[in-house]
Amino acid sequence: MLQNFRQSMAWVHTWFGLALGFVLIVVFFFGSLSVFDREIDRWAIPASRFEPQPMPSFDKLMRPIFEDMQPLPQARAFTEPLVNGPLPEHFDKVRSWGAYTTHRDPVLTMFAGYEVPNAKDPETTIFAQRTVDPRNGAALPDDRLKVGSSFFYPLHYSLTFYWKDVGYWIVGFAALMMLVALVTGVVMHRKIFRELFTFRPKKTTQRSMLDLHNLTGVVALPFHFFFAFTGLVIFAGIYFPIGHTQLKALHDQHEIHEAAETGLPHDPAGVPAKMASVDAMVVEAQRRWAAKGMAGEVGFLQVQHVNDANGYVSIYRAGTDRIALTGEGIHFKASTGAVLREDPPPTAVGRINEFLTGLHLQHFRHWLLRWMYVMGGLLGCACIATGFLFFVEKRKRQHAKQNSSGARIVDALGVTTLTGMLIAALGMLIANRLLPEVMPEGWPLRGDMERYCFWATWVAAMAHAFWRTAPVAEGQLAPAWREQCLAVAVLAVVAPVLNWITTGDHLLRTIGNGYWPVAGADLFMLTGAVLALLAARKLQRRAESKVTVNTPVMEAGHA
């Protein structure tokens, strides 16, 4: 396209990197937080601050809860457009039950899927969901938002923009652009090995930003590449739904064939049947896993065709000891408890897929590796942020002379998506501590209020960002950066303090008790506060020194 291949790749890197960088920094940051999503849940829902538990007795504790669960208003609202006519008050025909827990979850998540009468597609299912304390079956109130696993985590893969899956598509395209940016970045960066350790903060802002951009991009290159790639692989069914569209016939043929081959009935028989003891099935499943040298706890349990003669119970192992997301599923006939099938070892392709998805989804138990993932994610954020800063730094004087506000807009968006994003996350956690336990009549539910606070805080930060970046249009440093860094520093102290005031769990107590989920979250925020304060002080010094010389405009990729 341009003079030569390298220049063309530099053009792609700059413009597609800039455009999608704003999305990617959000994905990387909330992805980093998602590594400890369940720990953030503990912080946000004090009632769940106890130790992780193994899955409790199905027969004694879980069954009555399953039978009691009904879909919540949100699920009903979602299903309404899929039905001809009104939804029933009470759903009776249950299809499936499921329960899910991990080694990091004190609480147990339970699902029940019901038939929907008069649905346009007869396969439509409506789900009821409940989170319980496995020690006694007590339910967590439905209006509590799991800020980590039900907000920050979905935010990172869908921007919680669910209309027509648009959010998923935006993130998917951004992920592809991440891969593009990595490859084009390598093509552009001529001294990739020689400058591996190079960081020159004392030189011009352009040089030091570029050094940092290259450093954070190159040292974690395999990490960045694999996370973007495996993210795409995980949602391949959304991006290329070929098996449900063009080749649906092949998919359906396979399902029937598989049902016949595995002996797991695809449809209910229509004949009622009582369930045998599921606890006994769990014992047998664990015995079989141990016999294979893969002893473990139950991670996922599912009952298909509940109370039907064709019913079967599938029990999967919680994958904690390896990267690959392997289920080692064992399936039992629900009415008798006989083993119908033990999932065979995966094929070669299956193993590759399990490894790649497991690498991303992190069900393994390895605290050091988790923290290393957070480090990698934050390095990714730093790479993207320094990319923006380099872009603005390189062009702001030029744009000032040409009376263009391009650099100012990019800088404002940079503030919004970097410090603004931090402020929004902290604002949400603070709202979580300040909102009343139950919202008064007529107000949205507590969980919904927390989400509104998140977005409102971010919009406010954006308004501040655009207002306080005016000097960039004159080629100067924007005060917005320093001001938002200070805001981050303050909020990141307020949140742990509020945790102490509202729950009594201050750092001495949580560290003393070894309750790391909450201690870790508080320490992470306090560390962030210190870093934000240091950044603010540095920006203050830079603004005061006002060394505005005619710094030459650098070509990225040159020395």
């Binding site: 790639f229 290329f240 070929i242 392709v349």
Partner: protein
């Protein structure tokens, strides 16, 4: 950066080729790959996963080529013809084996 030498049309054309052309070609590739592998007795989900892995890497390559190649018309031709031929072949194979 010598941007004066690229026309707006060139940029739009290459971007569309990279994004839409790339998507269409990748769809065709995955569809053809899946149908062919299933016809060759590979398990359905294995075929699905393997073609998706290859597909994303191919999409990445197409994207870079759309901006790196000298002649964008040739790129368009390959993408459109390739997408249609492969997608067509996929449906043909599907009809033969279901």
């Amino acid at each position: 950066m010598a941007t004066a030498s690229i026309s707006r049309l060139n940029i739009v054309s290459r971007t569309l080729a990279a994004v839409l052309g790339g998507y269409a070609f990748t769809w065709g590739l995955i569809a053809f790959g899946m149908a062919a592998m299933v016809a060759a007795d590979m398990e359905f989900h294995d075929a699905e996963h393997l073609t998706a892995l290859i597909g994303f890497l191919v999409f990445l390559t197409i994207f870079l080529t759309a901006f790196g190649a000298r002649n964008i018309t040739r790129v368009w031709a390959v993408l459109l013809v390739g997408a249609s031929v492969m997608a067509g072949a996929a449906t043909l194979i599907k009809n033969l084996i279901t």
